[in-house]
Point group: C3
Chain length 150, copies 3
């Protein structure tokens, strides 16, 4: 059996970034002042903007772009396969994309299908985001629905 350690490889980063280990990061690009808490996995082909915080226990999959000044809570899970076809895609060519804007807050334990979320949006803790969010507001629930515009 092959048993290997989590590690940080192929990571490009700006000034003032901080990571609390253990984490498993392979192939990401960070802006300046990015914070990553413990027990986080970040896959390749991801982009995390300036001043954005990825809190403990979160998982950022391939093809996720997160803007500046955003806050990804604890235990947030991103996905790049919407499972509608009834099976997972093992070929990375078919992975879907997620784009999170600037100043977005994703509450802890939320789950995100491959979506676009407009800047300034807030997702309440424990939500499941199943559709693109184009109107800035506060959303919560499973599936997440608009509580009010902001």
């Amino acid at each position: 059996m092959k048993s290997i350690n989590s590690k940080i490889i192929n990571l490009k980063y700006g000034k003032g970034c901080k990571i609390i280990k253990p984490v498993n990061i392979y192939g990401s690009k960070f802006g300046n002042n990015v914070f990553v808490g413990p027990f986080v996995e970040i896959q390749n082909n991801t982009l995390i903007g300036d001043n954005t915080r990825i809190q403990s226990h979160s998982f950022i999959c391939s093809n996720v772009t997160i803007g500046k000044n955003s806050f990804i809570g604890h235990g947030v899970m991103f996905t790049n396969d919407d499972l509608k076809k009834g099976k997972i895609t093992r070929n990375s060519k078919f992975f879907k994309k997620t784009k999170i804007g600037n100043d977005v807050v994703i509450g802890s334990n939320s789950t995100l299908l491959p979506v676009t979320i407009t800047s300034g949006t807030v997702i309440g803790a424990g939500s499941t985001v199943t559709k693109n969010i184009n109107v800035k507001g506060i959303y919560a629930g499973s599936p997440a629905k608009l509580l009010r515009k902001i």
Copy 2:
């Protein structure tokens, strides 16, 4: 880039406590016989009562008090910011409080907004608790609702 290890600092604890590392604990107070599973983060200004178990993958944020003989399942996320204002609070002065009684069971993967939960209450796995629970019973769902009194 600053890359530092998870650690246990500023922790006060009673007799018979047990922790499975890696964990990231900074500034908490444990009673006797507290158990903490692996991949757990516990922030400062928290109190965990005698015989309470915090299972793997859970996150206990600042301003959480948990009573005696309680069971916090796996992947349970506490929060101290209800996001209703449309942004997170970065000033700890404004963090809200959570108070969990004695003999409380929080099912795995549950999410708790800053609430009070009365002693003897059971929260089903995968729930999101959005309001104070003052009546002892079994609650489940997102948002969690009373299934029956006990």
Copy 3:
């Protein structure tokens, strides 16, 4: 205080298995080519079939059997106590069983009560599975409901 490290003990495994540490595994049996991502806990009396993948942040409790070619997403929490009696069972004699078939996909951040899930089933991310699934299909939500047969 007793502070011990996560470890891999009493694990039987076939050919070609791969584990990304840190993990906490005690008493499991893997077939061939099983993959286990980082920050995973697997308890004793569990069985993971050939080619099945357990992704990061997941928790597999005692009495879980998973078939071949299945995919357990990130942050998936299994349970063996349905909490209906209003308290947890500390005696392993009373732990309930979970049986997952072959070619099953469990989306990330899903929660599973002790259930049986038939082969070929897909559970959408962020779902809570509260009942046995005997009809092959795509299920999602909390509680998980049939979206369509496949």
